[in-house]
């Protein structure tokens, strides 16, 4: 394990860089990662002893590969662009919130609001996700190997949510155009969310998502859910209000 400061280490290009959060601060870690934005000198990073700290590896804008060994706190990998981040542990609230591109993989469970508002990229949660998974998602693809909690995909606008386990109450409430696929039981559907026919194009899409996430499941075992488009925003008659 390197005992050099991050700043010193970054100047030595090539190879894998280790940042031990028992010795360095979150701010130092994030600064070192942001320093890669303009010129990529070190592509592979590993982070040790995260101990549930918040805001790890946020706001990245470079093709980095980052492995975080241990549980992370809130907003890990938030606003991520380009980077591929793996959390070898559990994640707190808001993992990959507002992600733009790249990928985030959580080996354990994730707390609430995983992938919230995210515009793009791939989020894979190998355990369970808490409540409000994919809330207000705007283009991200989320694949959860376990269950998702209540109010998942609330006001989801674009992208896909794949749940290999069960979904909690009020799935897909006030949904716009997100495609939701659930293999297990759905405790209840939210307002305006309905089960929809699984056509070949959906089987193809789901198959591609599962493959991209490295999850071995049969697409035919899933059901599809989406917006019934009956809420106020979908009624053309309401356009006269403007």
């Amino acid at each position: 394990m390197s005992t050099k400061s991050v700043a010193e280490s970054v100047t030595t290009s090539g190879g894998k860089q280790t940042v031990d959060l028992a010795q360095q601060t979150v701010r130092e870690l994030n600064q070192a990662l942001h320093d890669q934005n303009n010129e990529l000198t070190i592509a592979e990073w590993e982070v040790l002893n995260p101990k549930g700290e918040h805001n790890l590896a946020v706001g990245l804008d470079q093709k980095l590969k980052i492995d975080i060994y241990g549980p992370v706190g809130y907003y890990c990998a938030g606003m991520n662009k380009e980077a591929d981040i793996t959390v070898h542990g559990h994640a707190g609230q808001g993992i990959a919130e507002n992600m733009m591109s790249g990928s985030v993989r959580v080996k354990g469970n994730a707390s609430s609001a995983a992938g919230a508002t995210a515009h793009g990229g791939l989020l894979v949660i190998e355990g369970d996700a808490g409540s409000r998974c994919g809330i207000s998602m705007k283009g991200i693809d989320i694949v959860v190997k376990g269950n998702v909690g209540h109010m998942s995909c609330f006001m989801g606008q674009a992208g896909s949510l794949v749940v290999c386990g069960d979904a909690g109450d009020a799935l897909g409430d006030s949904l716009y155009e997100v495609h939701i696929y659930v293999k297990g039981a759905v405790k209840s559907l939210g307002a305006d969310c309905i089960e929809k026919e699984m056509r070949q194009e959906h089987l193809d899409e789901l198959s591609a998502l599962l493959e991209k996430a490295g999850v071995d499941e049969d697409p035919k075992a899933f059901k599809r859910y989406g917006s019934a488009r009956q809420l106020y925003n979908f009624k053309v008659d309401n356009a006269s209000a403007y």
Partner: protein
């Protein structure tokens, strides 16, 4: 905001280290609650009579004289020790007699808790200060729950700090805010529950005391709480032999539980659990909304 933490030992392995294991958990929640902190520790149980946690703001208060007075007037025996502004009195008669005597004759003494096992210690200031003030690290026992407060619904005072106790050996810590506490307080007052503050969390504690008085089990009382309490909450509750966690149906106040063969620990954030022994291999999960989690000791 507020932080809550709890540690419940499933066996005797860590009983002597309860305070030492819990202190860093409380301090880890400083950012969530820097206004005041407190904890309720369960241990050193009395077989007969009652154990009271008493408090007087004067650190030189003559607790020995109070003990002698109680012994003489109530014809009983008192075993006691002082810890900062607080003294723990073990009195060999029933709780009601002692409490009534204190309320009538020693109004300068606050009764912080009453029961067989519970001791409640709390103070305004940073959690680390409270930990050191009361020598938390030396404490032993079976379970302990604590709170770090960022005040919203009432003033930053010792009395407004958590945990709240309104009944024998019962206490509660709360992260969130209740919206129907005023009405509920009035209803509970009519049922004979006493309140010391205007705090919403105290109403939740009073509600549980009321339900338990009605014959509910801890589990049933908490199921009823889900129906009758309106607002945001993650609660951790302690009783003489039990420990419970419950979240409101929306569950936007955070909570994480870790369980091993030796203990159950809960915290607002995982950061507070990282110093526990064997945490790397613990089962870690987020308690589900509207689900009552109870652990109770059947043998002691």
């Amino acid at each position: 905001m507020c932080g809550i933490v709890g540690l419940y030992l499933k066996n005797d392995k860590y009983q002597d280290r309860l305070g030492e294991l819990f202190a860093p958990m409380l301090i880890a929640m400083t950012e969530r609650g820097p206004d005041s902190a407190g904890f309720a520790v369960y241990g050193d149980e009395v077989d007969q009579g009652v154990k009271l946690t008493l408090r007087n703001e004067d650190e030189n208060y003559d607790w020995a004289a109070l003990a002698k007075d109680i012994e003489a007037k109530l014809n009983t025996k008192v075993d006691w020790f002082q810890n900062s502004k607080v003294a723990v009195f073990k009195v060999d008669i029933d709780a009601e007699t002692v409490e009534n005597y204190l309320m009538e004759n020693h109004q300068d003494v606050l009764i912080m808790s009453s029961g067989k096992s519970i001791e409640i210690l709390k103070e305004v200031g940073l959690p680390e200060r409270i930990v050191n003030l009361f020598h938390l690290e030396n404490m032993k026992g079976s379970h302990i729950i604590g709170h770090t407060r960022m005040a919203t619904e009432s003033a930053v005072t010792m009395a407004g700090s958590h945990p709240f106790s309104t009944g024998m050996d019962l206490c509660l810590v709360h992260n969130g805010s209740l919206s129907n506490h005023n009405r509920l307080r009035q209803e509970l007052k009519r049922e004979g529950i006493d309140f010391e503050t205007e705090n919403d969390s105290e109403v939740a504690a009073g509600y549980l005391t009321y339900r338990l008085q009605q014959g509910d089990s801890l589990n049933e009382a908490l199921e009823h709480a889900l129906d009758d309490l309106d607002g945001f909450f993650t609660f951790t509750i302690g009783t003489k032999d039990g420990f419970a966690v419950v979240r409101d149906p929306i569950a936007c106040k955070p909570a994480v539980i870790a369980e091993t063969d030796d203990y159950v620990a809960m915290a607002s954030e995982y950061q507070a659990l990282t110093t526990l022994p064997g945490i790397e291999n613990a089962k870690v999960w987020e308690p589900e909304p509207s689900k009552v989690y109870v652990w109770e000791r059947t043998t002691h």
